[in-house]
């Protein structure tokens, strides 16, 4: 097992790093109370997915997918297209999330999830301390 992991890591280090970053992002989303921090975690989780997809399109000794006479091996353009649009859509959704946070702050005067849940009337022991 240890042997397998040590060999697997060398050829797949991109995926391993993407998974570690995705775990950090996920922890930020579910483990933190501050809504702004949650959105930052969402961004990190998103970039981990980008990293994973782009890694799948890489070809050893390939070049960027722009046709030229002297090159024959190109990396895969399809994951790049998917991620390009995902980045721009990601910032649009981030803007939406921030707009909601600004409104929540104006209405409830807090961006802390615990305090928001308390305001909602869950204070009678229903809220466990997550």
């Amino acid at each position: 097992m240890i042997n397998y992991i040590s060999i697997h890591w060398i050829s797949h280090y991109n995926y391993w790093a993407a998974i570690v970053i995705a775990m950090v992002g996920l922890y930020m989303i579910i483990g933190h109370n501050n809504l702004i921090k949650k959105v930052a975690g969402l961004n990190i989780l998103q970039t981990a997915v980008f990293l994973m997809y782009i890694s799948m399109g890489v070809i050893t000794d390939g070049t960027a997918p722009i046709a030229a006479e002297t090159f024959t091996i190109y990396s895969n353009p399809l994951p790049q297209v998917l991620m390009l649009t995902a980045i721009v859509v990601g910032v649009a959704t981030t803007a939406m999330a921030f707009a909601l946070i600004v409104r929540i702050k104006e209405t409830c005067n807090t961006v802390d999830e615990d305090e928001l849940l308390e305001r909602e009337g869950h204070q009678n022991g229903n809220v466990e301390e997550w």
């Binding site: 995705a22 950090v24 959105v39 890489v58 721009v88 649009a92 803007a95």
Partner: protein, 180 residues
Amino acid sequence: MIDIIIDMVLLLFLTVMAFTILRLRDLLSMAMILGLYSLLMAGLFMVMDAPDVAFTEAAVGSGVATILMLVTLTLTRIRYEKKAAGLQWRPLIIVLLTGAALLYGIHDIPPVGDIEAPAQQHVADRYIAEARNETGVPNMVTAVLASYRGFDTLGEVVVIFTAGIGVMLLLGNGTRRYRG
């Protein structure tokens, strides 16, 4: 070889920065490091032969997203995360389980850079071979984005448009003047 070294160094930096963002309670510093993180990620995409994605990540991730986060911090007047977030074991267990599932998921996918991988076989080959002859555009990413998958991109544009409308609905579209 130099590619692999740059790759590994950047990935190490990115991982360290992700943990820094996780631990920072000062949200202004967090926004700044998040912008730097996006810039490093753009550099990594550049090394991985994806200039278009690198371009977008540099402009969007470290430009517009950082600006939006700074504006939000200004509007909400929040500088620090309230509670010192100790290690909470329930989220940690969920995260570790997810990580384990993902690791199990990658255990048999082909190594990075493998030209025989299934992801390089089906439609990608055709794009690379025919995109220039069929569309007259040397940049295959543009060709796939605008022509082969034009309908997808139409959807993305509509999503962005809708997000703009949503933000204007939530925050007012500026017809009322709040500031004197």
